[in-house]
């Protein structure tokens, strides 16, 4: 049984040239001539208990509007939204706290607006106070709080009772690192008990660690939907996309998807990995000196060419990344069909596991200005541990233990 179902949901705002027009349209007169502004269009979505979904997309893509529709603050212009369960939402970084009231009074007030009984509220209050960890400030007016402290109280209020659906718009990025960890812990706990989570975030790490699904919104439509790592790769390519560059997504064979984008003025045609003995390989030893060799075709004369490399671990988290702009080796005035290759030599000081290379050819420090070619999952290799001490984590730090005893 789904907990949330959106079918054909759209939201548009009518532009009224004057108040008179608005009044008339309320009476049903002259409605046809009004222009409307479409914010969301044809959103279909079904969520089950325990799902965790991240909405990503550029500013103005409609993410917050969608969350407001689901919460019930705005009503959709088209389609239907079916919600089966209580919603707790932190929208636009707050829960409507009144600055003159103390944290405690605000918590009490917000919970009672949400429909909880005064006795229930008093029962959770000690927990709520403890979780927010604002100390003596809890009994002081919210107007003297920092935004992080307000966020702490808001989060504690939103999760004081386990909601069936928890909605968090951007808010998680406000708290300090300590509270972020704490709130992620609470979110996972709630998820395990069946709470459905909907978040808007720009934090790739957060999204990939707690969500099982990501939805990319672009200009009010669902552009892409799937596992967070794939969607984030696609989003990354999308923000680079110039009008004439195309994004191509191909299955990788093991169930994943590879995203390729760029305008094709230069292309990566071949990628090879060599081990320390100069043999082509897909497996490196911890700490081994390896070389990544990239062949490039230049199709247009280029004022500037930069080659970039990014290593990601299994879950798509970036382990390392840099490019020839930062190493001050950007190439100027590259001619068409000029033979060109890059050899990147590096020590594989990586933990055991599998890694993917993302490669990019760009015209500057980032891929946002000129994106010639961007290939996610250009190459996948494994790191194995043959002769080093056993260790965990994604980095090999080559530790030396010196022990002083007695």
């Amino acid at each position: 049984m789904s907990i949330l179902q959106l079918s054909g949901v759209g939201k548009s705002y009518v532009e009224y040239p004057s108040f008179r027009c608005r009044l008339l349209s309320w009476l049903g007169i002259g409605r046809e001539q009004l222009k409307s502004h479409c914010i969301l269009e044809d959103i279909n979505l079904t969520l089950d208990p325990g799902d965790a979904v991240a909405f990503v997309g550029q500013n103005g893509a409609g993410k917050s509007t969608l969350l407001k529709l689901i919460t019930g603050i705005l009503s959709p212009s088209d389609g239907t939204i079916e919600v089966r369960g209580g919603i707790s939402a932190i929208l636009e970084l707050g829960m409507g706290f009144n600055g003159d009231f103390t944290g405690r009074e605000n918590a009490r007030n917000t919970l009672s607006i949400m429909g909880y009984h005064p006795e229930e509220i008093e029962r959770v209050m000690p927990d709520l106070e403890g979780f927010s960890e604002v100390g003596e400030y809890f009994d002081q007016p919210v107007r003297i709080y920092s935004s992080g402290m307000q966020m702490r109280v808001a989060f504690a209020v939103a999760t004081a009772f386990r909601p069936e659906i928890l909605i968090i718009d951007e808010a998680l990025s406000v708290g300090d690192a300590y509270f972020q960890h704490k709130s992620f812990g609470r979110i996972r706990e709630l998820q395990a008990q069946g709470t459905t989570l909907l978040i808007v975030s720009h934090d790739r790490q957060a999204i990939q660690s707690i969500c099982n699904r990501a939805i990319l919104l672009d200009r009010g439509r669902i552009q892409k939907e799937g596992p967070p790592a794939e969607v984030m790769d696609y989003y990354n390519a999308l923000i680079a996309a110039k009008s004439h560059s195309e994004i191509q997504v191909t299955p990788t064979g093991d169930g994943g998807l590879q995203t390729i984008s760029g305008d094709g003025q230069a292309r990566i045609v071949e990628v090879k990995l060599y081990n320390s003995r100069g043999l082509e390989t897909a497996e490196l030893e911890v700490g081994e000196l390896a070389t990544l060799s990239i062949q490039v075709d230049v199709n247009q004369p280029l004022a500037c060419l930069v080659c970039g490399l990014m290593l990601k671990e299994r879950f798509g988290q970036v382990v390392f990344g840099t490019n020839t702009w930062f190493s001050e080796q950007a190439l100027d005035n590259v001619k068409v069909a000029e033979p060109l290759s890059f050899d990147i030599q590096f020590e594989a000081r990586l933990g055991v596991g599998s890694y993917s290379c993302t490669l990019a050819l760009t015209g500057g420090a980032t891929h946002l200005e000129d994106n010639y070619h961007w290939v996610d999952l250009a190459l996948v290799f494994k790191v194995v541990n043959r002769d080093q001490v056993e260790f965990i984590g994604s980095n090999w730090l080559n530790p030396q233990f010196t022990i002083h005893r007695g």
């Binding site: 705002y13 108040f19 608005r22 309320w26 919460t71 019930g72 603050i73 705005l74 009503s75 919603i87 939402a89 929208l91 636009e92 707050g94 829960m95 409507g96 706290f97 009144n98 003159d100 009231f101 009074e105 009490r108 007030n109 917000t110 009672s112 607006i113 949400m114 429909g115 009984h117 005064p118």
Partner: protein, 260 residues
Amino acid sequence: MQQLVDNRFFIVTAIKMDFQARFSRSAFGTLWAILNPLVMVAIYAFVLSKIMHAKLPGIDNSYAYPIYLISGIIGWTLFTEVISRSLVVFIENAHYLKKLAFPRSNLVFIVLGASFVNSLILILAAILIFLLLDFSLASSLLWLIPLEILTALFALGIGITVGVLNVFVRDVGQIVPIVLQLMFWLTPIVYTINIIPESSQHWLELNPFFIIVNMYHDILAYRTAPPLDSFVKLLAMVGFVNVVGFGLYKVAQKEIVEEL
């Protein structure tokens, strides 16, 4: 109605919070709620001290004028408080409306409840003053219960209309206090009807508050039951303004949050 029952805790809490909010940083707290209208009475009594001791026909007390004045002001205070608070109810609660999903009409009931409590305090204070002025209570006081309810509902209908309009056209927020000011002076609250030339008296009857203030005078100052046809008229007015007000609210509801 069901919604009202479901949300009773919230509404009661909110009315309490409302009092706290208004007086959270003041030393005398709730006292200000009654002080305001009482000061108003004191000022008029002082300025118009000449007629203070004048006997008003029908009121058997040497302080007839202050009694008359207080009676009218009780009604007026309830009426204006509901209107002027409904006028800004959506704008002032924008932070809740934009961030929490809850039955929006609760806000209106909070205004109604809080104004009622204020009015009750004022009535108790007035009764106290009446007793000090050696003006004993009469059974006509019971008529105050339906009158207070109808007055508040009448103000609510007007209030919700101007409150909704004010979200879209903020001029409304400026116009309403001016209109209220006019209404105050065009109603026999500070003066008695007979100081107006008889030929113009019927103009005052166009003022909707005229009926209401007369009923307050009947009940509190003249200690008689107000005429039944006044109640019928008032009931009709209540029906009319509330149909308009809630009708408007219903069509505009979706756009209120968008506009805030």
